[in-house]
């Protein structure tokens, strides 16, 4: 992959943040607090804490992953029923507050996922993943 800002370390951080966000979302549901955005924010923060590079493209990719992760979490924890039916019917569950709750996660994943909290972080050089092709 030479276009998707792939960096194992960054995406591992995002995955860990997403898992933390998932458990926080689940805990919130127990207190009648519907906050799927916690997953997206967790993904973005997890990445920003651990990555050494800033990358706008990585922010976009993480925002997409966050959208799917929060939707899957809602289907599994809230909607019930089959996974496929839940995903296909997900859009029908979106009233304005629910949509905004998901949008918050997407925006959070993008905003945090594109940056790095490390002081010495550099902007990712486009095409740096193409080293493997020897160019």
């Amino acid at each position: 992959m030479n276009w998707l800002a792939w960096d194992t370390r960054s995406y591992l951080g995002a995955a860990l943040g997403g898992v933390v966000g998932f458990f926080l979302f689940r805990a919130g549901l127990g207190a009648d607090w519907f906050a799927p955005w916690l997953i997206g924010v967790g993904i973005g923060l997890g990445c920003a804490l651990i990555t050494r590079e800033r990358s706008g493209l990585r922010g976009v990719v993480l925002a997409c992953i966050a959208a799917w992760a929060a939707a899957l979490a809602q289907v599994v924890l809230v909607s019930g029923g089959g996974l496929w039916e839940g995903i296909v019917g997900f859009h029908a569950t979106l009233d304005l507050p629910t949509f905004l709750a998901h949008l918050g996660g997407i925006v959070g994943a993008f905003v945090f996922g594109r940056t790095s909290f490390r002081g010495d972080a550099q902007d990712r050089v486009a095409g740096s993943g193409s080293r493997e092709f020897g160019v």
Binding site: M1, N2, W3, L4, L57, V60, V61, C64, I65, A67, W68, A71, I87, V88, F90, H91, A92, L94, F99, H102, I106, V125, A126, G127, S128, S130, F133, V135
Partner: protein, 241 residues
């Protein structure tokens, strides 16, 4: 599975007011007796049309995604030509390869990775829109663009043999507003710095618009911002960075 809305269009096309879709009408003067009318059998053409009509929003979305994706590809292609470091590190290899005799596979690992990761990124982004709208046209359009991108380049690169593409396709394409054919786009492979833009892979109009916007748009390129252009160009002029 019954097609959505098949009844309405079928009835509209056949003018049967519901009879074609199974509803039975009572003809005037029948004295109140129910006289079942034979339901006319729609022709296969009508059925195909009615099925397509049911998916008009999805079909429009497929077209729109394909169209917009190609515009994004064109813009990114343009910007990489004015980003010296990115060009040298990635894209230059592509042009070098096709300006010599064929010395490798039709699409090498780098090109496959480029086309596939761009298409995969588009598919992932469009999948989110499908998830949130229920319109499968977003994903279908991205998938169509993926297939088009690979088939288009494989077909085009098929011309490339023991001689370079520059010698196989020596004619400069006209500045058209029609379809961007494989032959049209091949010009860019062999003449990457020509003032006739041929970045487009589906509609050549993107290139004509880009040519008009070029004197303004180039100011936003990496090379221009880094001061690596000697001067900003006049219309139709394409400086080398």
């Amino acid at each position: 599975m019954e097609a959505r809305g098949a009844r309405s269009l079928e009835d509209r096309l056949l003018g049967t007011g519901g009879a074609a879709s199974g509803a039975r009408s009572v003809p005037p003067g029948a004295g109140g007796r129910r006289m079942p009318l034979p339901a006319p059998r729609p022709s296969p053409g009508v059925l195909v049309l009615s099925t397509l009509a049911d998916y008009i929003p999805e079909l429009i979305t497929v077209f729109a995604v394909f169209f917009v994706a190609d515009m994004v590809y064109v813009l990114d292609h343009y910007f990489v030509h004015y980003d010296r470091d990115r060009y040298r590190k990635t894209h230059a290899r592509h042009h070098r390869r096709y300006n010599g005799p064929k010395s490798g596979p039709q699409l090498d690992a780098f090109e496959l990775s480029t086309y596939n990761s761009a298409a995969f990124g588009l598919l992932v982004a469009m999948s989110v829109l499908t998830l949130f709208t229920g319109n499968v046209g977003f994903v279908a359009g991205a998938a169509l663009k993926w297939v088009h991108s690979l088939v288009f380049h494989c077909y085009q690169h098929g011309w490339w043999t023991g001689v370079s593409i520059r010698n196989v396709r020596p004619d400069r394409p006209p500045a058209s507003w029609g379809l961007a054919t494989a032959s049209y786009h091949a010009w860019h492979h062999s003449n990457p710095n020509d003032t006739r833009f041929t970045f487009a892979e589906s509609w050549a109009g993107f290139d004509r618009i880009l040519e008009k916007l070029h004197p303004w748009l180039i100011r936003f390129t990496v090379d221009a911002r880094a001061g690596r252009l000697y001067h900003l160009p006049a219309r139709g002029e394409r400086p080398s960075a």
